[in-house]
Every structure is written in structure tokens, then in C-alpha cells.
Symmetry: C2
Subunit: 324 residues, 2 copies
């Protein structure tokens, strides 16, 4: 007979999954009112939080539990990558239906633990409660040397605009997921990118350490939504060349280009580089493609050049308050 | 004609409410991928997060929006008080129905901003999305001198057990709230304590700084749930004297005592003090009553002595996974 879950048994399951070792900086983790983390002089703490909600960010009958665990942490850590920092530890607010506290929770914790190890981000603490839907909020603390973190606000007219990897593949993976019956298992590279995104930590840290980027952010809601954010923060505009976009080879060009412009969930890095630094950006960084897709302009407009035609670049990315 | 809300307008409303001043430690707040906070050597960061969910922690038709704003932050900050630390900044994950992005959000931000100022805890960043219910998760970063934070695990047999303020009043306030028709306005001291709890920051910091407590936590789920947690963390038991409990004068003694034992949401501090330090604990600290309610025992049982009778102290506080 299965014992009824209570908050204590749920917390114990989480504590077992994450062990009780003590890394040097995380002085106290789990089981107290709060966690303790040792500060050092000359560093800046990078703080960010992200929702991961059933029905909004994942689907109950489609996303495997371990992908939910992986992705909820990976996407929050991507914000640390976007500042050029190194993740340190995270807090997890988790709300679950009672029937999700068994096998589903085991799978979820497996994925979360794998992400925690792979990304070097320790579980520091959290809060658990019951809810009719799965609700997750992850807060991550990362770190960068003082003054080294890359912001959205440093782009200047004449800078080149770069993006890592390919754009639109995660959206293509979501399309594949919606065609699959039941929980997705296996699948194409696009589906894997949708389910198990990798934050570009090494690239972000390298750009920050070597002061190569003038501004940076991660592409989470789609290029057409995120690029205007970087430009607004910097008080500039941009011109993007459709022909140069690193699109997916897994669909036809027109579709791939549309996905690259508006698809979300890629967690690639979008960054601007001053003229004098452009030659220092390689075509590949540790096997990850880096592509120059346009330039920053003085005029505060976002333009898209496609062959001979230049048009205003309309935001078509994801906004939770826009009706589909 | 009211413009349709989108994520950008929602974020702008939040940014307007919280201004754009830059306190010394919060190097970068709002509007980027993450916030930046300057570390110092010799300090420990205190990290904690708390849910505040419609239907679980507050009721749509009962709790005023500004009380939701106040309380979601105050209860998370209470965990920093429970470590003896000083709050620094917070992250807010906020999900709202579209019809809550107008007047309700204004009231919510008013209460949140008031708590932020009163508790000295700046908004560093957050994540917003749409949801059919109001969902809030608050992550707080506090600070304490290295080694000074008070944990749950330091209580030893023979220590005296103290609690601040009175217990059970917030639960009494909740009872009053449920009797009121519609949104609560005004009300008794008990209702105010339920709606606008004050974390015991000054007391916590004083106890930590002067190394007066051997263990400490805040009473958020009720004494009968929280005291066993402190005892389990310390590997000890406790004996509590019902006659000495600081109960509310707003109801009859039997009811007040039951509320003091099992009522949640008081956010008072529960702490143990070694024999040699007991005389240093005043009956009042800055107008806040401090009451000795029992002692820590070697035997790992929690006992309640009521007159001549001693009984095991059954947990009757709040557990989200227990069916009512």
C-alpha cells in the first residue's frame, strides 16, 4: 500500500535525489529556512528567475517528465549564459498534483539532477506545495567578475550582430512534438533541441572574459521579439540580412527562415561586436557555429533585408498576453 | 479604449512602480537578462523562495490586492529573518489572468512596493506570464556575516525554547476574513496580522549578532508543525507548557490555545537559548514580547504539558498534501 504523500515525504525525495554533499561555496543547502552561499569580493552575483508552467511552457501528455526537469533549469541558466556568467546554485518552487508525486516526480528529478550536474548549478533550496497543475519557478544565482557581465544596453551603431548555432530548430521540434501521439520519446535533432536545450555558457563566458561583445542576450522568445529588446536597451536599431540567417536544414528554406525569425526556445546567444573586434570572432567556437546576421544602426528601426527588398522587421515571437 | 495588455506593457508597469534608482549593492536591476548584485568578502548570501498561489495561499474574492502584494514578499523575507539576516533584493515570478493586469495589478504593486521599502528589499528582476489564476513565486536574497546565520540544527538538550509575539492570531484573522463578505477592508488586529504580517527582522538580527540563540526558525505552518522540524534538524526533542503559550486575547482561552498550537501564518520567531544565555533574553525586545514556552529534551519526542497532564504533541499545522 502506497503511503499518502505529504510535504515532508516530497521534500525527502528531493533531498535524496540531490544528495547532501557540500560544495565549498554552498555552505548550507536544503532543510533549513534558507540556504547559505559564501560571497567573495570582486564578484557580482547574477540573479534571474523563470516560470515553467504546465499548459504554457510544457504539455502534460506530450513532454517527458525528465525533459521538464532538464528544461526548467536549462532555460533559467540560459539567462546567466546571456550575461557571460557561471551558474552557481538555484532555488526551485514546485507545485504538483498528488498523482504526480510518484513516477512523474522521479523522472522530473532525474532530468533536473542531470541538468544540475551538467550545468554546474547546485540545488540550494525551494518550496513545495500541491496544485492541480504542475507549476515550476526556478531562480538561479550565477557569478561573474565585477564589471565583466555583458548587458543588453551596450550596442552601438556600426557594431556587427552575431548569433550562435542555428535559429528556429526548437520551434521545429515543438511542431514535431505536437504530431507525436502521447509522450515524446527519441525524435529528431530538432525535437531534442526543444526538449533538452543547452545554454551557451562557454561561449558567453569567453565573450565576457575577453570583452568581445558590446551587448548580449539569449534568444528565448524568437529573434523578432528579442532583437528589438536588445536594440531598445541600447537606444539603437538594427538591420538583419535574411540570407545570412543560420537556419535549420531540416525543413524547406522558406519555412526554415520563418522559424529562424520568429521561433522561440532556441536559447542561442545574440550579441553585438564592435568593428575593431569583429575579426576576433571565429566562425566556430568549440564546435558551435557563430554567424554574422546584420549590423546595428543609428536609426531606431529594426529592418529585414531579403534579396533586394528591405522591410520593417515585425515582431512575431512569443508574447504570453497576445492572443493566438 | 483600453489598450490590450502585452508582456512589455506589464513589465513597464512593474518598472514604473519600482523606479530605476540604483542602490549601491544592486548594480543592475530590471530590464536585462538578469540582475547584478555586488558581493563582499566575509558575508554569506541567504537564499530562499516561497510560493504565494491563488486558492492555496490567498483567495481571489477575499484578499485585497495590496495585501497579496505585501504578504507574498513579507513571508519570503521572514525566512531571512529566521536566519538572523538582512534582506537585500528579490526576484518575482508573476502569472496573471488578463483581467488582473489593470486595477488589481496596481493594488498588488502598491502593497508589494510598500513591503519592499519597509523591509529594505529591492526588486531585482522577475518573469511575467499569463495564467488563469494568479501565481506568485518570490525568491529573496539576504545577507549575514559569515558564520553568524542561525540554523535550525543547533538546539541542545537543556536549552530553553522561546517564541516572539503571540501565536494563533493570524489564523484567527483568517477565520474573520472568511466571515466577511467580499474583499476584506479594515478589520481587527488579528485580520491585519493575517493580511500584513511583519517579519521579525530586528529580533532575528539581534539574536544572530549577539549569538544568543542556539537554533532558530520562523513559525509559518503552526507551532505543532514547525517545532518538530527544528527538533528533527537538531536531533533532539522538546517539552512545551500550554499554560505559558503567548495566546491571543481576542478569543476564549481554549480556542486561543488551540490556535496558538496549530494556527499558521504568524511569522513569529521560534528559537532555543542555552542555559547560560537565558538571562540575556529580555521579556520584550523593541516592544515585541518574548516568551519562554518550554525546553529542549534529549529524548526525541515532542511533548505538551497542560496542567498535570503531559501528552505527545501531535502536528496539526498546515501541510498542503494533507486532505482537510
Amino acid at each position: 500500500m502506497r503511503r499518502k504523500p505529504n510535504e515532508k515525504s516530497l521534500i525527502q525525495k528531493i533531498e535524496r535525489a540531490f544528495g547532501n554533499k557540500r560544495p565549498s561555496r554552498l555552505v548550507l543547502a536544503l532543510g533549513d529556512d534558507a540556504a547559505l552561499w559564501a560571497e567573495t569580493r570582486g564578484s557580482e552575483l547574477i540573479l534571474t528567475c523563470d516560470w515553467f508552467l504546465e499548459g504554457t511552457h510544457f504539455l502534460r501528455g506530450k513532454h517527458p517528465a525528465d525533459a521538464v526537469g532538464w528544461k526548467c533549469l536549462a532555460r533559467a541558466v540560459s539567462d546567466v549564459a546571456a550575461m557571460g556568467g557561471a551558474p552557481q546554485c538555484f532555488l526551485m518552487s514546485l507545485a504538483l498534483p498528488e498523482e504526480f508525486t510518484g513516477k512523474w516526480l522521479d523522472g522530473f528529478l532525474r532530468g533536473l539532477r542531470r541538468a544540475s550536474k551538467a550545468l554546474g548549478c547546485e540545488l540550494a533550496g525551494g518550496d513545495t506545495t500541491r496544485h492541480e497543475k504542475v507549476l515550476i519557478s526556478i531562480a538561479v544565482a550565477g557569478e561573474a567578475a565585477r564589471g565583466a557581465a555583458l548587458r543588453r544596453s551596450g550596442a552601438a551603431a556600426g557594431d556587427a550582430v552575431f548569433v550562435s548555432g542555428t535559429l528556429g530548430e526548437a520551434q521545429l521540434g515543438l511542431r514535431e512534438l505536437c504530431r507525436v501521439r502521447g509522450i515524446a520519446r527519441g525524435g529528431s535533432a530538432a525535437l531534442r533541441k526543444h526538449l533538452y536545450p543547452w545554454p551557451r555558457l562557454e561561449l558567453g563566458q569567453w565573450l565576457a572574459k575577453n570583452r568581445l561583445a558590446s551587448a548580449m542576450m539569449d534568444v528565448s522568445d524568437g529573434l523578432s521579439t528579442d532583437l528589438p529588446r536588445l536594440c531598445a536597451a541600447s537606444g539603437v536599431g538594427a538591420r538583419i540580412y535574411a540570407d545570412s540567417l543560420p537556419v535549420s536544414a531540416l525543413t524547406d528554406l522558406q519555412d526554415a527562415r520563418r522559424l529562424a525569425l520568429h521561433g522561440g526556445d532556441d536559447y542561442e546567444l545574440l550579441f553585438s561586436v564592435s568593428k575593431q573586434n569583429v575579426h576576433r570572432i571565429p566562425r566556430e567556437f568549440q564546435g558551435l557555429q557563430l554567424t554574422r546576421i546584420g549590423e546595428i544602426t543609428r536609426e531606431r528601426k529594426i529592418l529585414l533585408t531579403e534579396g533586394e527588398k528591405t522591410v520593417p522587421f515585425e515582431s512575431g515571437g512569443w508574447d504570453p498576453f497576445r492572443k493566438e
